[in-house]
């Protein structure tokens, strides 16, 4: 089941706080969807889990985070839309994350608007206990959109973008739970796209899917990168190699190497990266 908190995180309303949206800076050098992380430290209580992360994530490209369990990649991903705010003891202790030049942790930033702009897809598909249509329309409705034609258009557009439309167009009003695992995950992607984010975060989106469903999601990622900045956490090295343009390798809370994916998987610059991706770690 999906918790109420998770529901609000996934499809946060569009304009809850009109007074403090994240401004788009006038600086023409700042590209839409670009993420800049500077000297970031992060801790759960006294346990520091991210150390001095410096990373510039390019817009409209796929960036993969790889590394062994506990290296901090999911924590960093969750920092990008302030999902960690929901954990009491979790906090950024130093540094900044800027999206399009704006510090997302600034007090003026509306976290709800941030999460609309930075959508998230989770490891396990988590459709709401609603129809396929209502799952996709959910974010729009709670954002205040009531006009049926607008919602219809947005639902179809999102389902098409998620490469699911042809498979569900004749049963839009049946439960999302009736879909296969792969279809449910694409439904969750459609739900994230419906509120028109600029960035899509994916936390091991294919870990519970069979190879065919995985291939469909990977192909979808390839298509989506033309419009969205995508950051994907994956334990599947082949997946990172197949569908990302850039790869960041993390170990023990530190960014060890960030480079083009072809470089990382053909000739990484750091010994630790080489040993991890070739299966010689530890």
């Amino acid at each position: 089941m999906v918790s109420v908190a998770e529901m609000s995180e996934i499809t946060s309303p569009t304009v809850v706080n009109q007074t403090a949206p994240m401004p788009n800076p006038a600086n023409p050098k700042v590209e839409r969807g670009m993420i800049e992380i500077e000297q970031l430290d992060f801790a759960y209580g006294t346990n520091k889990v991210l150390h001095d992360i410096n990373l510039s994530i390019p817009a409209r490209a796929v960036t993969a985070f790889i590394g062994p369990s506990g290296c901090g990649k999911t924590t960093l991903l969750r920092c990008l839309n302030r999902m960690n705010d929901l954990i009491d003891s979790a906090r950024i202790t130093q540094g900044s994350i800027r999206i399009e030049g704006v510090d997302i942790n600034a007090s003026s930033v509306d976290v709800v608007d941030l999460r609309r702009r930075v959508g998230m897809v989770f490891q396990k598909s988590n459709p709401f206990p609603k129809s396929i249509y209502d799952n996709v329309a959910y974010g729009l409705r709670i954002a205040g959109t009531t006009k049926r034609t607008l919602i219809d258009e947005a639902v179809e557009k999102s389902l098409r973008s998620a490469a699911l439309w042809d498979e569900v167009k004749d049963r839009l009003h049946v439960s999302g739970y009736g879909l296969s695992g792969g279809q449910q995950q694409r439904l969750c992607i459609a739900r994230a796209l419906a509120v028109e984010p600029e960035i899509v975060l994916m936390d091991e989106p294919c870990s519970a899917l069979d190879p065919i469903a995985t291939a469909k999601v990977e192909e979808l990622i390839r298509q989506l990168k033309e419009q969205y900045t995508i950051v994907i956490v994956t334990h599947n090295m082949q997946q990172a190699g197949r569908c990302s343009d850039h790869t960041a390798f993390f170990y023990l809370g530190r960014l060890i190497e960030f480079d083009d994916t072809t470089k990382i998987f053909s000739n990484p610059g750091q010994r630790q990266t080489e040993e991890y991706i070739t299966g010689r770690f530890g």
Binding site: M237, Q238, G241, F265, S266, N267, P268, E274, E275, I277, T278, G279, R280, F281, G282
Partner: protein, 230 residues
Amino acid sequence: MIAPRHILGTFDEALASLRNNVLMMSSLTERSLDRAITGLIQRDDELCAIAIADDEEIDQLEKQVDKDGIDLLLRFQPVASDLRRVVSAMKLSSNLERMADQGTNIARRARKLNQHPALPETELITPMYTHAMAMFKDAIDAYVREDVQLARAVVPRDQALDEMNATAGRRLIERMAEDPEQLRGYLNLIFISRCLERVGDHATNMAEDAVYAAAAEDIRHQHLVPASDE
């Protein structure tokens, strides 16, 4: 640099087996070329026949390396240095097989030459053979030890072999004009010279593959201007 052990012991075993087969091919190729040239110099048809027969085992090993390499790629999907090691082993095997074919060609030409009186010009072949085999051994040594410097040093040495081949070719064509009775013999020596020149080319290819395996650098065809720079 020798890589630490893989978490999957089966991967290390498969890679070691692949390399061992490549090294076996290398030893057999070296022996085959040696027998072919000794058969020529000592006019020993028996050695030439053995050199020709050796080729079958090398051909079988080439097929085995290809099969094992593809199997390894399929089962383990190696990346980075592991991928380069597998790919370079397969490429080396292909070069070794072609090199061994040159040994067979030399042995066949030597048998024809042995049917006629010895030609003093046969001595043109010995320095070429020595040079080609030195390149071959250094290329293999560089591959085994992942010695990029040694591998790089092999490549320019091919030019000297090309020049020896050109010089031998000119000398033998002159002799054809002077002594047309032995035309077939001189022609066979030209072919043998050409075979050794090809051995040098394969050694160069192997040295380039050794650089790629160890340093992920493609040093082939460096005289070509990249399209983007035009």
